[in-house]
């Protein structure tokens, strides 16, 4: 009997004990009626062949292991960045359970959100009653300052009209007439979570701005975009702005305190977030800067319509992207970039120079949201590393073109392939046929690591199986340093693993590298 109270074995060691191995072998032989081992081996090998890759890339209908989620998740994330705001998702309730779980698993934090709990009768008659009762209940129980309404695909398919429903709910005194209830239609069958983010941002801003008069000030708005590292990245950005002496700015959708509340005995359903008054006043800003272009096309268009200057970056990570961010801020605010930031930049360049021999010509596959993949590839090029596959399930043709331009700008981008609208099962074929040294993605990438032996670096949402990485920034020079160290650690760990056999490979198991 393997188990004991002295040393309790849980699943990982327990089922490796002979009793269990024997049991599982018998189960397989006697009851499972599986395919012969040779056949499984043969097909397994075939799935890693060029022939398979071509069939796989020719898929037209089936999606396997996509690297994207649906719109309402992005809407919930965007709304969470506003002061004391509760997300209210109109439609089936199971969706909300999923968004909350997904966000909590990544951030290791509470994620509050309600549903209008529509069921079959609402599918027939529409969900107006659910909206009317739901808003009243949410207001009474959770005391939000704002309720941000988005939709599941059920409500979209039956065509519920949020604008009219919310107006009717207010007439029926679910919530006071002047209570803030911005909304966004967020159909799950269009785009991905980054579009949901965009739609909700636009929904919130237009709610506050539509009937307001604009008086231009010198302030600027910054929209961070959907980002698993938002907690630390937004704080890092605020630090950079403080270094520059920029005070007159508004972060639209600031989740940095929302998804990072302390443990001191109190559960804070709401913490931090962009003040609603600041969101209102943001109309008057001279400019709005998006840190992730593909997260904000509609929002930026709206800002431009309101007369604001707009600009968009692709995830300011690494040297040049951070340079651009700082120079853009400098241009918009008239504040100079201080010497302290030049020193920071220099320290990052110093670290890259120290380690360049370990990075030069190392090959990478990257997947994730379009802006992240762009920013990541750009930073790799700066390090003399070679991106070989850049994949975004939610990246379109424009993104692919932009990626190709980026890759063409550096000799280290030669031979890199860009894969818009592909999934992680495609990536498996790519890694099997054209292997790379490292894979950059999220936790789902661990299956690719297992199947192809490519070490995984987790830099993209969601990260479920490693803790607290999101508490450290990837933005700015400091963030780039964190990213650099993660990459280097992966390189060194792999090298150590590969050379660790005593008397066989350990001549290369060097003390100093």
């Amino acid at each position: 009997m393997p188990q004991s109270a002295d040393k309790v074995l849980d699943h990982a060691p327990l089922f490796q004990q002979p009793e269990y191995k024997e049991m599982l072998k018998n189960k397989k032989v006697q009851y499972e009626c599986g395919h012969p081992d040779e056949m499984v081996k043969e097909i397994g090998d075939w799935t890693k062949s060029w022939e398979y890759r071509e069939k796989n890339l020719a898929r037209e209908a089936l999606t396997v292991n996509p690297a994207k989620a649906c719109q309402p998740l992005g809407a919930v994330f965007a709304a969470a960045g506003y002061e004391q705001t509760m997300s209210f998702v109109h439609g089936s309730q199971g969706c909300v359970a999923y968004y909350r779980s997904h966000l909590s698993r990544h951030f290791k934090e509470p994620s509050s959100c309600v549903s209008s709990s529509m069921t079959e009768d609402a599918a027939v008659f529409g969900g107006l009653t659910n909206m009317v009762d739901g808003l009243a209940n949410t207001k009474a129980l959770y005391n939000p300052k704002m309720i941000a309404v988005s939709t599941t695909c059920m409500a979209e398919v039956i065509g519920d009209d949020l604008s009219s429903f919310i107006a009717q709910a207010k007439q029926k005194e679910s919530v006071p007439e002047d209570f803030d209830v911005p909304f966004a239609h967020t159909p799950a069958f269009v785009g991905s979570h980054v579009d949901g983010y965009d739609n909700m941002q636009k929904g919130i801003l237009s709610h506050f701005w539509e009937k307001a008069e604009r008086t231009v000030t010198g302030s600027i708005n910054i929209i961070p975009g959907f980002d698993g590292f938002a907690v630390a990245n937004i704080r890092e950005m605020k630090r950079l702005l403080a270094e520059m002496g920029v005070e007159d700015y508004t972060i639209l959708g600031d989740v940095s305190d929302v998804y990072d509340t302390p443990s001191d005995g109190e559960f804070r359903m709401y913490a931090g977030g962009t003040k609603l008054d600041d969101a209102k006043a943001a109309l008057n800003a001279k400019a709005t800067l998006s840190l992730q272009e593909y997260n904000t096309p509609k929002t930026l268009e709206y800002c431009a319509d309101k007369g604001q200057e707009t600009a968009a970056l692709h995830y300011p990570m690494g040297i040049q992207a951070t340079d651009e961010f700082l120079m853009k801020i400098s241009e918009l605010t008239g504040k100079e970039i201080p010497e302290s930031l030049r020193m920071e930049r220099g320290r990052l360049v110093d670290a890259m120079a120290d380690s360049q021999a370990w990075l030069h010509d190392k090959t990478f596959a990257i997947y994730g949201d379009p802006d992240f993949v762009y920013g990541m590839a750009r930073f790799l090029l700066e390090m003399g590393a070679q991106p070989k596959h850049c994949l975004a399930t939610n990246g379109g043709k424009k993104w692919a073109k932009k990626m190709e331009d980026l890759l063409a700008s550096s000799p280290f981008g030669a031979g890199c392939q860009v894969w818009p609208q592909k999934d992680l099962w495609h990536m498996r074929s790519l890694l099997a046929t054209e292997p790379v040294d490292m894979l950059i993605g999220n936790s789902y990438g661990k299956y690719l690591e297992r199947d192809t032996g490519t070490p995984l670096i987790r830099l993209m949402f969601p990260i479920f199986d490693r803790h607290h990485h999101h508490r450290f920034p990837t933005f700015g020079y400091q963030g780039a340093l964190t990213v650099l160290v993660k990459i280097l650690d992966t390189i060194f760990d792999k090298l150590d693993d590969d050379t660790i056999i005593p008397g066989e490979t350990d001549y290369s198991y060097d003390l100093t590298r």
Binding site: V64, C70, C95
Partner: protein
């Protein structure tokens, strides 16, 4: 962190009133029917637990109130996530937009042995990734093509299930026709499941629909080679409703095999389609998660004459009682082996209890889970000397609450389809020593300084079933409660005023 807290039935009744006062009148009236305190009853106490109480709330298994932050999921979660998803040699298509399959991908920890992507597919996300044009023009053609592509790229799959997401039922797609057609073309089992998320009021209807799909699209089809080749034996049993979370079914199977039984099928953790197909030939159905799979057991009893019985493999008292009850259905050989199994593990049980009970004795627990756990795990806590202050079901029915009376004592707080608000208030006022619930509840509770274990996923640990699992369960509860972190919440310079005054 000394805070006032309530205990005992009168306090709980008052607490329910207090919580309801926060709702608008209409919703307060609806929610009142779901909250109660276990009452005394004239019924005979349960033979194993010695307990009888009345836990039936007035209402359960009815619609959630909008806007209150229900913790429930949907029918798709009940079918794809619970019943069908763990069947390892079939491909389960999340049919519709991308999200449902994405959020449920690899989250239930249904362990299995197999080469993922080659002959097993559990921890993968297959979806038709519906786009606007699929909504407008219908998705049947895309579904048909999806199945063809699965057949080409995953040739060792033994069948496909179609797990419908919300839009499917709303746009009038005929997934049954596609399934029939593809079954003809590919000669493999095709199972269309109408588990659209808006159906029913929770996961529960999804379980039922998934059970019915087993009946209609597996049992009622021609016998497969696996069925034909199978010769039933007198000790053949099925384990029904064990999803092998963290290896639960394996820690159970080892006990059943040791007592001489053959587990022909395990539904549905680590199961193959053959294990589903052959089930009607077994002698007895052993059902663990009654809520999610009683339907198919009743059907098998009616149609194939297979008796079914519930059992409980959480905690040694119930394990021994269950093993004996199972053995009683067979001959003396099995009964003798059963006693030998219980005797073999008794030293382990004694050691575990000797080590952990002193650390856990008298600690209070609040549970809020789904399926069978709000009652079944209670006895495992009892075995460690812990006390249940409150329990409730996400999607229980009246029969679940009735059965709960055999597990919890009079005066236990009972909450059905609890809302975020209610649960937070209950926990804040009762301040139990441990809360067992899900990922959405974990972090709010821990922020309050109260130890927590996820009791859906075993908080990435497990197994918790069987004797081997009980040791892990005891260790996990101990480490949750007795970790030093809970003592670090208060900054020393912010001590309570009276403490400073006393110095």
């Amino acid at each position: 962190m000394a805070k006032d807290h309530v205990g005992g039935s009168e306090d709980y009744e008052a607490l329910i009133e207090e919580v309801l006062a926060a709702y608008p009148a209409k919703s307060a009236k609806r929610r009142a029917k779901h909250l109660t305190v276990a009452k005394a009853t004239d019924e005979e106490p349960d033979a194993t637990t010695g307990i009888a109480s009345k836990c039936d709330t007035q209402k359960s298994n009815i619609k959630s109130v909008p806007g209150v932050m229900t913790i429930r999921g949907c029918a798709y979660a009940g079918s794809k996530g619970v019943v069908w998803g763990p069947v390892k040699d079939m491909v389960h298509i999340s049919h519709g937009p991308v999200g449902c399959g994405q959020y449920s991908w690899s989250q239930r920890r249904n362990y299995y042995i197999g080469k993922t992507g080659v002959d097993s597919f559990v921890t993968m996300q297959f979806t038709t990734d519906f786009q606007e044009k699929d909504i407008v023009f219908g998705g049947d053609k895309k579904l048909a093509k999806t199945i063809d592509e699965i057949e080409e790229l995953f040739p060792l799959n033994n069948g496909v299930t179609i797990q419908s997401e919300c839009p499917i039922g709303l746009i009038g797609d005929d997934i049954e026709a596609v399934a029939k057609q593809k079954n003809k073309e590919h000669g493999k089992t095709m199972v269309p499941v109408r588990c659209e998320g808006f159906r029913g009021v929770s996961q529960s209807l999804g379980h039922h629909i998934a059970n019915d799909a087993v009946r209609d699209w597996v049992f009622d089809k021609e016998d497969s080679d696996a069925v034909k080749a199978y010769e039933p034996g007198q000790y053949d049993v099925n384990v029904i409703g064990d999803y092998n979370i963290g290896g639960d079914a394996w820690a159970s199977r080892i006990l059943l095999e040791e007592m001489g039984l053959n587990v022909v099928g395990n539904w549905s953790g680590d199961a193959t389609l053959a294990e589903i197909e052959r089930a009607p030939k077994a002698k007895l159905n052993l059902i663990h998660c009654y809520r999610s799979m009683n339907y198919i057991c009743r059907h098998m009893e009616e149609k194939y004459g297979i008796e079914w019985m519930e059992y409980n493999f959480f905690g040694p008292s119930q394990i021994a009682a269950s093993l004996r009850a199972i053995a009683a259905k067979f001959d003396e050989t099995i009964q003798e082996k059963c006693e030998a199994v219980i005797a073999k593990y008794q030293p382990l049980v004694d050691e575990v209890i000797a080590k952990y009970r002193p650390r856990l004795e008298g600690k209070s627990v609040m549970l809020y889970v789904g399926g069978l756990r709000p009652r079944h795990v209670v006895t495992a806590y009892d075995d460690l000397g812990m006390v249940i202050a409150g329990t409730g079901y996400e999607f229980g029915h009246g029969d679940d609450y009735k059965r709960t009376g055999h597990y919890v004592k009079e005066g236990t707080l009972i909450y059905d389809d609890v809302t975020g608000y209610e649960l937070e208030k209950f926990i804040e006022k009762i301040r139990p020593d441990l809360v067992g619930s899900g990922i959405k509840e974990k972090y709010p509770v821990q922020k309050m300084g109260i130890p927590f274990r996820q009791m859906h996923s075993w908080d990435y640990s497990g197994p918790y079933h069987g004797y081997d699992g009980f040791a892990i369960f005891a260790r996990d509860m101990d480490m949750a409660i007795n970790n030093p972190v809970w003592g670090l919440y208060d900054a020393p310079w912010k001590s309570a005023p009276e403490a400073i005054a006393a110095e």
